[in-house]
């Protein structure tokens, strides 16, 4: 990715998205503090135990959150380009479909759907065409990887039909 030399744009009001990032960093730090405090009793006998480094990292994350708030306030974050959300939903839907169908329908069908949905995200919306193409392609990949390279890829009805 090239994040190039975008001109620093000075805005008058604080950058809301950057404030959200700062909040997320603070939450991660908080979760680390909470989790590590649970462990503290278990490793009490030495000064450096499994809790030391997580504490340090959590403190640094808090510091970075404060720094992010500061930059957000000054509007130091680079300007974002407009993002289209439609294609994102297609890809995420494809990944979710694959995740949920993998065990039931097997690798080829689940991954074929992912293939078709991703193609749809990039403008190839003819699902009646892309889903069969995806399933056939995924099946070929399944044969190569699971039969030739012995990788264990989940098999479903389609795979059992042939092997």
């Amino acid at each position: 990715m090239t994040n190039g030399s975008k001109p620093v744009h000075v805005k008058r009001r604080p950058d809301g998205a950057a404030l959200v990032i700062a909040a997320v960093l603070a939450v991660i730090a908080g979760v680390m503090f909470w989790d590590v405090s649970r462990l503290a009793g278990a490793a009490g006998y030495s000064q450096v135990g499994p809790t030391t480094v997580p504490y340090v990292i959590a403190i640094c994350l808090l510091g970075l959150a404060v720094w992010t708030v500061f930059e957000a306030w000054r509007g130091d974050f680079p300007e974002r380009e407009h993002q289209q959300l439609g294609p994102i939903f297609w890809i995420v839907a494809g990944l979710v479909a694959q995740m949920l169908l993998l065990k039931i329908a097997g690798f080829s069908i689940a991954t074929g759907l992912l293939f078709a949905f991703t193609a749809a995200a990039f403008g190839q919306r003819k699902l009646w065409k892309t889903i069969p193409i995806g399933i056939v392609f995924a099946f070929v990949v399944w044969v190569i990887f699971s039969k030739l390279l012995q990788l264990s890829l989940p098999a479903g009805p389609l795979e059992h039909l042939f092997f």
Binding site: M1, T2, N3, G4, S5, K6, A17, I21, V31, M32, D35, L39, A42, A43, S46, Q47, V48, P50, T52, V53, P54, I57, C60, L64, T68, F77, E81, Q83, Q84, P87, I88, I91, V92, L95, V96, M99, L100, L102, K103, F107, L114, F115, A116, T118, A119, A121, F122, G123, Q124, T130, G134, F137, V141, F145, L149, Q150, L151, S152, L153, P154
Partner: protein, 505 residues
Amino acid sequence: MNTFEFLLQGLVIAAQPMNLLYALIGVTLGTAVGVLPGIGPALTVALLLPVTYQLDPAGSLIMFAGIYYGGMYGGSTTSILLNTPGESASIVTALEGNKMARAGRGGPALATAAIGSFVAGLIATLGLAFIAPFIVKVALVFGPREYFALMVLAFVTVSSAFGDSTLRGLTSLFVGLALAMVGIDQLSGQARLSFGIPDLLDGVEVTTLAVAMFAIGESLYIAAQGDRGPDRIEAVKGSVWMSAADWARSWKPWLRGTAIGFPIGAMPAGGAEIGTFLSYATEKRLTKHPEEFGNGAIEGVAGPEAANNASAAGTLVPLLTLGLPTTATAAIMLAGFQQYGLQPGPLLFATNPQLVWGLIASLLIANLMLLVLNLPLIGLWVKLLSIPKPWLYAGILLFATLGTIGANPSVFELGMLLAFGLLGYAMRVFGYPIAPVVVGLILGPLAEQQLRRALAISQGDLTTLVASPVAVVLLLIAAAALIVPLILRARGRGQVLSQLAASED
């Protein structure tokens, strides 16, 4: 035995027919994937990792070496013909190379890039072979605190020294370090940040994170930009062979590029990009044809391409001798070693010399194979470039998920893949670099181990970290690498640094 005998022994191992076949498959796959637009060496290596799962360690690492070098070659083809560098190390190549391609001199541009990469790869790999034993000797006397200082240096240079924001670089790094804490602590056996979920006890898989961030994050990002019109592929017109004048103008830049790139890659600070920029600047100053620069000067392709490959071989020096990855690609290669329970570092040279020297020797062989493969097959690679976007990214996501499913076919692992993919997308939108997350995840546990060992030896006394001259010098360099860019940016000189952004994907 001396280096020569070790290297000869390595060549004997690498020249076994099966290993030659693995190397051939590696370079072919590496080039084929590396040539796809938007795919850099880091992603190439991460995507092709599952292909090597079922091989023995030696065969797998040899194939890996081929994939690594092949991915580098593929990237230069993309930048010359398509002007979309797949990695920041190829940006400079695109500068002059694409101009040459537009002027109908794409053939010589590809040829000088290929031969320059070969020359640089050859010299730099030999350099690696001869330098490695010395560094191993030095590294053997390193204690935990020296290792810790070295890793701090690597953290700083990977995250904040280059790029356009110290804040965002450090944030990425600490997100990676936080993810590194997930799972069972290696020294005490305590489960940390796993929230009672068994899947998290093993920690976050480096390959899952890398594939999610690079492949899925990038696909989401490209998709969200919408249709910006088709990319223009420059046809390779005329001969691919270089004329006598091209040769005369190329051989010096190759050697200078190698001389610049290798030391920069070999330093435990990393970043192949810096070498390419320095090489470009050098060639621009030394050239007899200054008017051609910006309009397709062959020196501007030959030098940076050589520097790029030389520093790629250079990054293997800290990786193999110290176990220190300084780029995202090196971090994924380290994960490849770890899947066989191998920890690169000085001890690997002692306990498993056949493997290390077989790997170094197969780099030489892969390099030679690429030279033979690349130019005659250029037509095939150009065809790969013209795959329409929907099919290209659909295929990328198929193979990205394939790796995760092959390693661990669980819904949870795929869920992590999706979550990290969305994280990678968000980071791209807001200008956060990706490489520090990956390096933080893989180097975090190692750094923690060294730190805790050092503090255990000193019984908790923090001053032990600065009690050795080597550690002090390393920490001072790290502090300088953190502070100097901050000052430069504060005074408005940040543009140079953001051009050197150490982002590769």
